[in-house]
């Protein structure tokens, strides 16, 4: 084989290789396509057989109707409120605990850190029954604080922030300490501004986990008005004369923040997962 024909062959293989995965990726994206194209057709057409790939008429105002009539708009704001609140509490609590673990000396520190790590092994679904009973006895069933507080104190954040704080040079805060700045002051005005990558990562994953959370809000939010978006989606699923087109519009709305963040922050996500890959025992 000549060099020329060999490069031509490897170029052809390369194109085939890229094209093959492109087809797989497009097939993989089909459920997204199906969701959006069913959101913008009439309900009769969603149920019609034979199935049409594209809507007869694109009814874009179905999104507006689903937002106001079902009311997915309200559910959207409920979800946003819950997810943002949990994220804010988690970040504050994790920074405080993480700083104590990274920089302060106190008896039993390492044992406590181990206990924090140990709690990560307890699966969430195991705790829902006692947690519900606690929320019930506090009178917080069907309230936002009932949904928010029990999930806002995860111990992973404290560990993540500790690891990051340890990588910040001690000298940076020593000058401030000599000037008599308090620990809280040092944390807020020196450490936190330097830790934005870690705080961003913790916020992103906390927000997404809560935005997508279903079982816990399903149990606590017993009334329709306070439902989060995933819980709200299931309310209309079993009703007579289900408006499938509106439900698809609601599903699309619920996917919007995650899709947006996954595309926008792909580098951050890849780097954080790569960190896991690197730590996978090596």
């Amino acid at each position: 084989m000549t060099t020329k024909s060999r490069t031509r062959l490897s170029l052809a293989l390369d194109i085939l290789n890229h094209g093959g995965l492109l087809i797989v990726a497009l097939l993989f994206l089909f459920p997204f396509f199906w969701m959006v194209t069913n959101a913008v057709r009439s309900n009769a057409e969603v149920m019609a057989y034979p199935v049409r790939i594209l809507p007869h008429v694109f009814e874009w105002d179905n999104f507006a109707k689903a937002w106001t009539q079902l009311p997915f708009g309200r559910f959207f704001f409920n979800s946003m409120f819950v997810s943002v609140s949990v994220t804010i509490i988690t970040v504050i609590v994790s920074c405080l605990s993480g700083y104590a673990f990274a920089r302060l000396k106190f008896p039993g520190r390492d044992a406590l850190l181990m206990a924090y790590l140990g709690t990560l092994m307890v699966p969430a679904i195991m705790l829902i029954i006692p947690l519900f009973l606690i929320v019930n006895s506090l009178g917080m069933v069907n309230t936002f604080q009932g949904v928010i507080l029990p999930v806002a104190f995860g111990t992973f954040g404290a560990f993540l922030m500790r690891q990051f704080f340890l990588s910040i040079p001690m000298e940076l805060e020593e000058a401030a300490r000599i000037d008599g700045a308090s620990r809280l002051r040092i944390l807020v005005s020196i450490i936190v501004p330097l830790s934005m990558p870690a705080i961003g990562l913790l916020s992103l994953f906390t927000f997404i986990a809560q935005w997508n959370n279903f079982l816990w809000p399903l149990i606590v939010m017993t009334g329709t008005d306070n439902a989060t978006l995933p819980v709200g989606l299931t309310y209309f699923q079993t009703q007579q004369g289900t408006q499938w087109n509106f439900i698809m519009a609601g599903a699309a709305l619920s996917m919007l923040p995650g899709v947006f963040l996954a595309i926008l922050l792909q580098k951050l996500i890849y780097n954080s997962i790569a960190l896991n890959a690197g730590m996978g025992g090596r």
Binding site: I125, G258, R282
Partner: protein
């Protein structure tokens, strides 16, 4: 681990003068206030629930009325008298086994494929990762429409003349539908994880093997796979833990049916706890799930000696 030991050494090696111990006490007090919010949350929403869960599993509490201590009779009833328990356990193990194997095989395949590309690696990663960041409930609802009788899936099957019953209403196919949905929603994370691990394999190793005459197949099995095996192990353990807890897809698509063909442990906990309000009995099922998670993780750690390759 190393970091923790280093910090202890530094702390221990400092000389404790009287002046130092006063400072230490002040620092301890600061640490206490810094840790307080997290500690209150952890005790109230983690430690107390864990203890309560153990206690509950030995009672017959039904939310209303006073709980009675019933000893181990919940556990006895679960294993000997409950007609639904064994099918639920079998469904859970079946789901976990099939889902785990397919998830690892598909995500590893996609990761290798993506790493072989010269262009657009990050965009392919994003595509397969997208469902990971979207609500499982929304994913399940979309797939429910696809699998609905007379829906898109039936339409495709009929147009290629394949005669088959509707997925979600068939005793054996319903679980397969749940697994397909779970795979679509779940392969993305492991794909990115394994892809990142493959990116970390030093190019010089692969070059050296190429010069020694190893073909692509040999380079994969003899070099890349052993080198990423710790990450593969990590991904397998985490995926197994989450798949034993499967709930969202089942709640939306089948509610455990038809019959109890897709009822899993996670669904049984919800059903017993929040539909029948048998808080004690549901806690018993939760502890069986915990025991299974621990057992499966232990088995995987035992098996890793045979296939996971660690440097030094």
């Amino acid at each position: 681990m190393t970091a923790i030991n280093d910090v202890t050494e530094v702390a221990g090696s400092q000389k404790r003068s009287r002046w130092g111990s006063r400072l230490d006490r002040r620092e301890g007090r600061t640490a206490f206030f810094f840790l307080l919010p997290g500690l209150i949350g952890m005790v109230l929403f983690l430690v107390v629930p864990i203890i309560a869960s153990v206690v509950l599993s030995f009672t017959n509490w039904k939310l209303l009325g006073t709980p009675q201590f019933v000893g181990i009779s919940n556990y006895v009833r679960l294993f000997t008298a409950d007609p639904q328990f064994w099918p639920v356990l079998r469904n859970t193990l079946f789901f976990t086994a099939e889902y785990l194997v397919l998830n690892i095989v598909i995500s590893l395949g996609l990761a290798v494929w993506i790493s072989s590309l010269k262009m657009g690696q990050r965009w392919f990663r994003v595509v397969f990762f997208l469902p990971t960041f979207t609500p499982g409930i929304a994913v399940a609802i979309v797939w429910m429409l696809i699998f609905a009788p007379g829906g898109f899936f039936d339409f495709i099957m009929r147009s290629i003349s394949v005669e088959m019953p509707s997925m979600l209403t068939d005793q054996t196919l319903a679980m397969q539908a749940i697994i397909i949905v779970s795979l679509w929603a779940g392969v993305g994370y492991n794909t990115v994880l394994f892809n990142a691990a493959l990116d970390m394999v030093p190019q010089s190793y692969l070059e050296a093997a190429r010069i020694d005459g190893a073909n692509a197949w040999q380079r994969f099995w003899k070099i890349r796979l052993p080198l990423i095996s710790p990450t593969l192990f990590f991904g397998t353990v985490m995926t197994a833990i989450t798949s034993l807890q499967v709930f969202d897809q089942i709640y939306v698509m089948t509610r455990g049916g038809p019959g109890n063909a897709t009822a899993t442990l996670g669904y049984a906990i919800y059903q017993r706890g929040f539909q029948n309000f048998q808080m004690g009995y549901a806690s018993t099922i939760a502890w069986v799930m915990f025991a299974m998670i621990m057992a499966l993780t232990a088995v995987q750690f035992w098996l890793q000696r045979k296939w996971v390759h660690y440097d030094n």
